[in-house]
Subunit: 310 residues, 2 copies
């Protein structure tokens, strides 16, 4: 009893002695480490998500090992690193390529708890933090429709879970407004330099040219606006656009992009909470995060778009 007290005092005296997590982990077969896989930390979107995760984990003494999957080789390396480091769990974002899905299945199959963000990887058990992509697409399109636009483009790829969902929302809004879907309004630019010029000449020459676009990615939207402006178009006066993401890095972009806000940090935060709950053996359920429209200055509210025919 008194010895114990002395021990405590001695420890307090040494002050800088922290228990060795390696030994502790060896005994407990835990590492107090969580792996977080992202497609690219340099995209401000994922930096925000990571920050959210990290904010939650650090309060519970868990370290976050960042896994930036940018090549097939990095995917392989992280597979083995997560294994050898013996992480206690993994948070994995959607949109990761380079065979990561298979690696995640392997890891999950070996018993590592996994939480997914934005989409489920087939064959991997675990909760996922979803975002209401459909609602986002719906709100974005409705905003354009409400401003009087009738021929609204969807500019983006039509594959991948996320884009598909957003497109679903786009169609929903159109339908609700009684507008017949027109396949020719759904386009994407694989090669901007070549295809954008063709697009522009189409815009000027056709009478029933589109007057607005929903572009399910802020980065693409900003690029689009940039090109439009260098072709002499004014945004939103001549053409309206709504993006998706609400990237903070675009804060000072002019004109301010009307877009759909996602709860980026929350995404990471909730994923971390789910994982922690799972580690404690608690039951977990998928989380669905809401989105909202952020109105700035890329939607022309006053007129029905140049050649609209309402």
């Amino acid at each position: 009893m008194e010895e114990t007290r002395q021990n405590i005092l001695r420890i307090a005296g040494e002050l800088n002695h922290s228990p060795n997590l390696r030994a502790r982990g060896l005994k407990l077969s835990r590492s107090f480490l969580i792996g977080m896989a992202v497609p690219n930390i340099s995209k401000s979107f994922y930096a925000d998500v990571v920050q959210g995760t990290e904010e939650c984990l650090k309060d519970y003494g868990y370290g976050l090992i960042l896994c930036n999957i940018v090549t097939r080789q990095s995917a392989d390396r992280y597979l083995s690193m997560l294994r050898t480091q013996g992480v206690d769990g993994i948070i994995s974002c959607a949109e990761i390529e380079y065979g990561w899905d298979g690696h995640l299945r392997t890891l999950a199959g070996e018993g590592t708890p996994v939480v997914m963000i934005n989409d489920r990887v087939a064959g991997v058990d675990g909760p996922v933090v979803y975002v209401d992509q459909v609602k986002g697409g719906y709100l974005a399109t409705k905003c354009l429709l409400d401003a009087g636009h009738r021929r609204v483009l969807f500019i983006g790829r039509s594959r991948g879970y996320i884009n598909l969902e957003r497109k679903k929302g786009y169609r929903q809004a159109l339908e609700e407004a009684g507008i017949k879907p027109d396949g020719s309004l759904c386009i994407s630019f694989d090669n901007w330099d070549e295809e954008f010029d063709a697009f522009i000449s189409g815009l000027t020459n056709h009478q029933q040219a589109p007057t607005a676009a929903f572009i399910p990615s802020d980065l693409a939207a900003v690029k689009f606006i940039n090109r439009l402006q260098s072709c002499g178009y004014r945004v939103p006066d001549d053409f309206s656009v709504v993006g998706f993401d609400d990237l903070s890095s675009l804060q000072w972009f002019i004109p301010g992009l009307t877009t759909i806000r996602q709860q980026k940090k929350e995404m990471g935060f909730y994923a971390a909470q789910l994982l922690l709950a799972r580690l404690k053996g608690e039951k977990t359920e998928d989380v669905l995060l809401d989105v909202e429209l952020v109105e700035r200055n890329t939607v022309c509210k006053d007129k029905n778009g140049g050649t609209s025919y309402e």
Copy 2:
């Protein structure tokens, strides 16, 4: 011999057995973990630096623990986490606040190898990866001077190693052009909303008003341009500006920002290499990274700025 062969075969058979790093680390007293401290991963600048570090480390089997120091509390938590996890080394960026300097001194004092980025923390031994900030400030200012501007603002705080160095370069360029330094041209906005209006009225009312500004931060530069434009000024026609950083997130900003490019990923990469070398017991030296001017569209080359008096 034959048993060994069988062992190898069995291992190959099991295939998914990876040696337990915890046990290995316990024996070797190493963790194969590196801590990386940044002021804010959500700033695209640091995301790039982290990506560079991570790219190097993963090839050597080291995991990267991200330490995002955004509050005093997070600084404290990471101090103890880095200790308990027993990281093999630490890479620490400049501009971290919340008492981190002291924590880093503590950790270094306990024997953890440290590599610093952008500035040395007093009392911490270890190599640092520097950027030629003075040259950057010089190139930025010279670019404005070469375009004919004579009254060039320096907009930014006059404290902190990095800003001070950039300002040094600004003064150097001025001096070289035979322009007397004018303290009133060095300003900073503590509260944009209030002070910017005052600044603008000064701009319109004075005959010898400045015609250009070097703003040693892209984010601030873009904000400045944004404000300028909403006051009816055109950039670069009415006012020229040069930033610093060359943030990729500003890629589509209009007008394209003329700025100083820093080698962001390289910064992180070299820091990792220095740390690895240190862990191997090799001798290390500071690294100085070069910068370059990236000319885009925020400097008016044709005229000497509205009210210039050359």
